[in-house]
């Protein structure tokens, strides 16, 4: 790929030297971010004027913002003008066949039991050549359309369902929310859009997977899911198989809106490239995810299994506005080698009798650092609000770290808040005991880790859960002994 990429870069740099002219025929925008680039992205996507204005408003604000530094993560300063913000999916820049793919990656697919025809897609092989899932996707799409469910790319939604997008986009995570979210507003290239009409129960798990070869969403993904009154939807993001990606910085935004009696289940398995054993390379995953339980008795449940990325900065949250609404957060975060994770949730209780539950399992091995950071906030009108937080850390080896930073703010005396936390270690005694019974060290660690995470894994859809279990074991290979 490097030849092509170099060519593109040289070309791009040249263009920049002579001043950049918006050219919507071009497949790639030059390095850096400025208003022209944003106009270019917007033009590429045939966006309406309001969308462009929104992006520009975000961009201008972003210029005045500073990067947050409160998380327990360390990385060299990012030069935001040194990356590309738009490049159309190029079929040329990936490996041409599986033979060109890193054997280690293939080995992992093997262990995960990823079907053969899917491995090529995941490894970034030009998909058209190897796999045609269009018919599959169309079948599903047809069925969903019959029920009035909209499931499409964000770009498509902006042009085809502008009213819905305009009404809800930025209504949960405002464009001014934080440095990374604001950058996303300015520069997002694509993502998923879901709308489930009143009273409809979505009959299948919606997954980005169905769209995997439809469009490459790039580093600034934008997702918006709206569950109208009395509806239900379960959405799966990501994939247990490691994904190949050229971009180091990922700053996605996910917004969920649940109206009266609606329920959204959002499950993520994140397995981006974590860098090598010495902490070189890897994705920075700086994500803003937030759900609004806007309606009465609505419900939003986040489940995440975070095993990848060099750095994870992510706090899927719930704003419990509707009376009797429920927010849940189930998380497993694994860090090995030199990975860093600072992750948790925010539960903001606004409505009466709102309830939230947090179950966080952090596993740290190698030289990795794992931080749980959570906020439970009870506002004055949240009469009878309840929260239960369970926060467990598991350490493997003695070079890694686990940190727990819970914030609790209660402004209503009727609130009931419980917080439990434990830290444990996989001990040499446990490993010896298990090995004396015939288990290999890897089997023993996998068993202990899966036992530790059981409560969270149970929340995942069945098939996903099985894959996630295997993934946990693979992520921790080489962490002991």
């Amino acid at each position: 790929m490097s030849d092509d990429m170099d060519q593109v870069r040289t070309l791009a740099d040249q263009k920049y030297k002579y001043g950049f002219v918006t050219d919507i025929e071009s497949d790639v925008a030059p390095k850096g971010l400025n208003e022209d680039i944003i106009r270019f992205i917007s033009a590429k996507k045939n966006e309406p004027e309001w969308m462009l204005e929104w992006r520009l408003k975000a961009y201008r604000l972003w210029l005045t913002q500073t990067e947050p530094d409160w998380a327990r993560v360390h990385y060299p300063p990012i030069d935001y003008q040194d990356s590309y913000y738009y490049s159309a999916p190029k079929k040329k820049d990936g490996p041409k066949s599986l033979d060109e793919v890193d054997p280690k990656l293939l080995e992992t697919y093997e262990k995960l039991g990823v079907p053969l025809h899917e491995r090529a897609i995941l490894a970034g092989v030009a998909v058209d050549a190897v796999f045609d899932s269009v018919s599959v996707a169309t079948t599903f799409k047809g069925k969903l359309e019959e029920m009035g469910i909209i499931f499409c790319s964000m770009s498509e939604a902006v042009t085809k369902h502008p009213d819905l997008v305009r009404q809800y986009l930025g209504s949960v995570v405002p464009y001014s929310d934080n440095f990374f979210a604001t950058l996303n507003c300015a520069a997002f290239t694509d993502g998923s859009f879901v709308y489930v009409p009143p009273g409809v129960r979505c009959p299948m798990e919606l997954s980005t997977y169905f769209r995997i070869n439809a469009e490459k969403t790039g580093q600034f993904e934008r997702t918006l899911i709206i569950a109208d009154k009395g509806s239900y939807v379960s959405y799966l993001e990501g994939c247990t198989a490691p994904m190949r990606d050229e971009n180091q910085l990922h700053a996605a935004v996910v917004e969920l809106v649940a109206l009266d009696d609606a329920e959204i289940k959002y499950s993520t398995v994140q397995n981006w490239y974590p860098g090598d054993e010495n902490g070189k390379g890897g994705i920075y995953n700086f994500v803003t995810k937030r759900g609004a339980c806007r309606g009465r008795a609505s419900r939003i449940s986040w489940t995440q299994v975070e095993t990848g990325s060099a750095i994870t900065w992510k706090y899927p949250s719930c704003i419990l506005q509707g009376d009797d609404s429920v927010g849940e957060f189930y998380s497993v975060a694994i860090t090995n080698h030199y990975q860093q994770a600072d992750t948790g949730t925010k539960m903001i209780h606004l409505g009466r009798n709102t309830r939230s539950r947090i179950v966080s399992k952090g596993i740290s091995a190698g030289h990795a650092d794992n931080t749980y950071r959570g906020l439970v906030k009870i506002m004055p009108k949240a009469q009878g609000a309840r929260n239960h937080t369970q926060c467990d850390s598991l350490l493997i080896g003695d070079q890694c770290g686990a940190h727990t930073t819970p914030y609790i703010e209660s402004r209503n005396p009727s609130a009931r808040l419980e917080h439990e936390a434990t830290t444990s270690k996989i001990s040499e005694d446990q490993l010896f005991y298990a090995r004396q019974r015939g288990l290999s060290e890897e089997e023993a660690v996998a068993l202990i880790v899966n036992g530790f995470c059981r409560e969270v894994l149970q929340q995942l859809p069945m098939e996903f859960a099985v894959e996630a279990q295997k993934l946990l074991a693979i992520s921790l290979e080489g962490s002991v002994g």
Partner: protein, 250 residues
């Protein structure tokens, strides 16, 4: 021959604990190794099981003709070496069913037998529970977690029954047990006596030998076997204590 230990020397953190052990255990025999605290009893059991940090500096151990010391801990276990722990280890979050099924299948795999699926395993485990008078609820609980001393030892016995080892090493199984629990656990062990199975019963006190009657008794003191004899030796020890043997070793 089940086990042949020759001139075994072993150190922990550079300190020599075993100073030349010679011990031969034929198939089907039960040998007791008795000794005072600090004589090297637990070290011997850990060296046989292959625990990290226990350095063998000289000597050899052959298990059914094979060089035992060349094998990893789990390989020894799969070949039928079972150590019943003095202090069984708690593994929170891992259910007994899950743990024991993985262990049984690891052993079966190495013997070239088909692995048991969840239903087959459960059937087997329930049968063994019943035979040993162990409550089935133990299978659902996390391994050893929150178990009483007696429950832990019964759980060890259940694992022996499931894994059907050839060489059973009991490391102070009697410690922390009242007389009733000792009886129950000992009976489970005695049920496993067979011409193909040998046992090493490591103990400080004679009382467990009332239930698991040994063919031979060896006295370990100062890292060496200082005397061997038949079961009368245990009674003599009970009367006069270890002092005379410790003196000999020094």
């Amino acid at each position: 021959m089940m086990l042949e230990i020759k001139n075994l020397h072993a150190s922990v953190d550079g300190r020599e604990i075993l100073k030349g052990i010679d011990l031969v255990i034929p198939d089907g025999e039960v040998h007791a190794v008795m000794g005072p605290n600090g004589s090297g009893k637990s070290t011997l059991s850990y060296v046989l099981a292959g625990r990290d940090g226990y350095q063998v500096t000289a000597g050899s151990v052959r298990y059914r003709g094979q060089d035992l010391l060349a094998l990893k801990t789990e390989e020894r276990a799969r070949l039928g070496v079972f150590l019943a722990f003095q202090y069984p280890v708690e593994i929170p979050g891992v259910t007994g069913v899950n743990f024991l099924k993985t262990a049984v299948n690891a052993v079966r795999r190495s013997r070239g037998e088909a692995e048991l699926d969840a239903m087959q395993f459960l059937k087997l485990a329930r049968k063994k529970c019943k035979e040993l008078g162990v409550g089935e609820d133990m299978l659902k609980r996390a391994v050893n977690t929150g178990f009483s001393g007696g429950e832990k030892k019964r759980y060890e016995a259940l694992q022996m029954a499931l894994l059907e080892p050839s060489l059973l090493i009991l490391d102070e199984t009697d410690s922390g047990l009242d007389i009733d629990a000792l009886k129950v656990v000992s009976e489970s062990v005695v049920r496993l006596r067979s011409p193909e199975r040998s046992m090493v019963v490591i103990t400080h006190y004679q009382r467990i030998l009332d239930y698991i009657v040994p063919d031979r008794i060896h006295i370990l003191a100062g890292g060496r076997i200082v005397q061997s004899g038949d079961k009368e030796l245990a009674l003599e020890l009970e009367r006069s204590g270890y002092a005379q043997f410790v003196g000999e070793a020094a």
